[in-house]
Amino acid sequence: MRPVAISVDSPEESATLMRKAGYTYAFLSDPNADTVRRYGVLHKGAGMQGRDIARPAEFLIDRSGTVRWVNLTEDLRVRARPKQILDAARALP
C-alpha cells in the first residue's frame, strides 16, 4: 500500500522536506489547490499570507480507484495514527 502525500507546497519545498525528514514516498505538488478542491479538502485562506491550502485528510483508495476509507480530522492537532490506516487497509477484502 503506497502512501502519497499531497499539499500546495512546490516540488522544491517538498524535496527539501523529504530530505530533512528522510521520507521516501511520493510527495505531490498541487500549488493552485485544484486537486485539493476536487477532493473537497480545501481550507480557504489558512496558509501563509492567506493562501488556500488543504486541511489534513487521508483517503485509502483501492486498485480499482474506489475510495475504501476516509479520515477527516476535526482537530488540526490530532492526526491519523499509522495503526488506524493499517487497520483500515487490513479490513479490506
Binding site: H43, A46, R55, A57, R63, R77
Partner: protein, 137 residues
C-alpha cells in the same frame, strides 16, 4: 517590607507563562502525547498562575504587579484560544465518500515529474493512501 526585596514569584510566574506558551509550539506540539491534550503545557500554565497570584498578594503596591499578573494570565488565554479555535478545520462535505470513485489527477512530484492517480494505482496492488497535508510553514 523592604522595597529592595525582589518579588520573585511574580516575575518567575510571568516568565513561566511565556515559557509555557512558546514551549508548546516549539517542543510539546511535536509529541503526540503532549500535543493532542496539552496537559504538560496546562500544568506549566497553572504553576505560572499560582506564582503570579502569590506574587500579586505579596506586593505592597499593586499597580505594576497587577499589570504583570494580568499579562501572564492573558498569555494563558491566548494559548487556549490558539490551540482550540486555531486548530479548527472546516467541514468537508464534498470529500469523496467510501464507495465513490476517487477523482483523477496528475500532479508533479518532488523531481517535477508528472504523476497520475491511474499510474499510481496501476503499480500498487494494495492501493494507495492519499495524505493531504497543510504544507510547510
Amino acid at each position: 517590607m523592604n522595597n529592595r526585596r525582589w518579588n520573585w514569584p511574580l516575575w518567575t510566574g510571568f516568565a513561566l507563562s511565556l515559557i509555557a506558551f512558546f514551549s508548546y509550539f516549539a517542543f510539546f506540539a511535536r509529541l503526540e502525547i503532549t500535543r493532542d491534550i496539552p496537559w504538560a503545557s496546562v500544568l506549566l500554565f497553572l504553576l505560572a498562575m499560582a506564582l503570579l497570584v502569590a506574587g500579586f498578594r505579596r506586593a505592597q503596591r499593586k499597580i505594576l504587579p497587577g499589570i504583570v499578573a494580568g499579562l501572564g494570565a492573558a498569555v494563558f488565554v491566548v494559548f487556549g484560544i490558539a490551540i482550540s479555535v486555531g486548530s479548527k478545520v472546516p467541514a468537508s462535505p464534498n470529500a469523496p465518500k467510501v464507495g465513490q470513485k476517487a477523482p483523477e489527477f496528475t500532479l508533479l512530484d518532488a523531481q517535477r515529474r508528472p504523476v497520475a492517480l491511474s499510474g499510481l494505482l496501476a503499480s500498487a496492488p494494495r492501493g494507495v493512501v492519499l495524505v493531504f497535508y497543510r504544507g510547510h510553514w
